[in-house]
Symmetry: C2
Subunit: 242 residues, 2 copies
């Protein structure tokens, strides 16, 4: 890998390296897509004439985000509301209960780490203060962190409502780090990259094969550091010659 | 009020005064009780023979807390599951949708401050670093804080998963305060008092007329500072001769 040949120890430019969690360290979006698929199978047969069940679900989801936020519980309540709306109430309540169970099982799902995550954290965390910054539900994110088997790599775990510049400002202040010495790594341009650059920090984009629709930023007009794999991060930091 | 006559400025013993929010600063439990009442009215008529609908709801709630946590979204999902279970699926899905709407309206409810809260914060917050520590859902608690009209009194707002000694230890470390100079005020002995005393802090119990069943501690065997009204707090701190 050529760009590692002359790598200085870029790690020395940073006091804190922060990782996003969902779809950066472990799979998340996949389970939502699976749940949507089940929703279509379960609710589709009862759909009112001419109704696009998937479109109703997305409409209800969009309307609910500002009220209930991101995360599995909000999504499950959206499925319940959408099922009844898309079928004018014809969906049996036993099917609705199955949607609620589906959400419950998502909350209890095992964590599936993405490839190379363990090695990357084992390489990075001994060299610099390593933290985790994730958006979403306190209960579910806490469960995932504590059952992930990788939580010992992080000195701090921040579960936040929204990843905007104000949130990142609060976090760097809490951590006592200058924005210029703060590096964020994540799969979302909107949540992990742009707001960090906005406060004068550094960010690396590691795209996930699925990017959630609400996470897309079409025209950000910023030059990004983007890696195909999280395994490139320690190389870029000068920590590895893999 | 006699105990204020010779009050020293007890406030000088503290670097941080922290307030709980739900049922300490604003009403919360009332809305859950109202929702339970609506649940019984809506679901009761479809109950299976010999089933105690209220008991089923409480059973489902208890089973769901460890999975979904506290808060309105978890409670709403419990109502959905309990409605179907208590009726063997006979409850119409339109009724289930009404339960989901009920939860949604709880998330959007106006904040109802409790009596004397504004005056207490206006008296306390200019004299000492004043923070808010609340348990529950990030989205809902954040909405309540930001629409409460009292958020400017707090230098820090901590929304936590569980109020146990570990959590309080993390908070006092973050705030950079010695436990002995930290005072917590709240309506729950289990969440606001005992864990704070356990880490060497101070706590005042201001009971709310409703205490949630899961919040009760029957035999704590600790002598508590307990006030009938939050208005007694500034008097005890030596800040007021009201």
């Amino acid at each position: 890998v050529t760009h590692s040949q002359h790598a200085s120890r870029r790690i020395d430019q940073f006091d804190v390296v922060a990782f996003d969690a969902d779809d950066t360290l472990w799979r998340s979006e996949d389970t939502f897509r699976y749940a949507e698929q089940r929703f279509l199978e379960l609710v589709g047969p009862y759909a009112a004439n001419g109704v696009d069940v998937e479109e109703v679900l997305h409409e209800v989801e969009r309307a609910d985000i500002s009220v209930a936020g991101y995360g599995v519980k909000a999504f499950t309540l959206s499925m319940v509301r959408a099922a009844v709306r898309a079928t004018d109430g014809r969906v049996p309540s036993l099917v609705v209960a199955e949607l609620a169970e589906l959400g419950r099982s998502m909350l209890l799902d095992d964590v599936h780490l993405l490839p190379h995550v363990v090695e990357v954290l084992e390489t990075v965390s001994p060299s610099v203060r390593t933290v985790l910054i994730t958006k979403g539900d306190l209960v579910h994110q806490t469960r995932k962190v504590t059952t992930s088997g990788i939580d010992h790599h992080f000195t701090d775990i921040e579960i936040v409502l929204e990843k905007d510049p104000d949130t990142y400002t609060r976090i760097v202040q809490r951590l006592g780090v200058e924005p210029d010495r703060f590096l964020m790594i994540g799969n979302s341009v909107r949540s992990d990259v742009l707001p960090v650059l906005a406060i004068g920090g550094h960010a690396i984009h590691v795209p996930y094969h699925i990017t959630w629709e609400h996470e897309r930023v079409d025209d950000h007009g910023v030059e990004l550091i983007e890696f195909a794999s999280i395994a490139d991060v320690p190389i870029w930091l000068g920590l590895s010659d893999l």
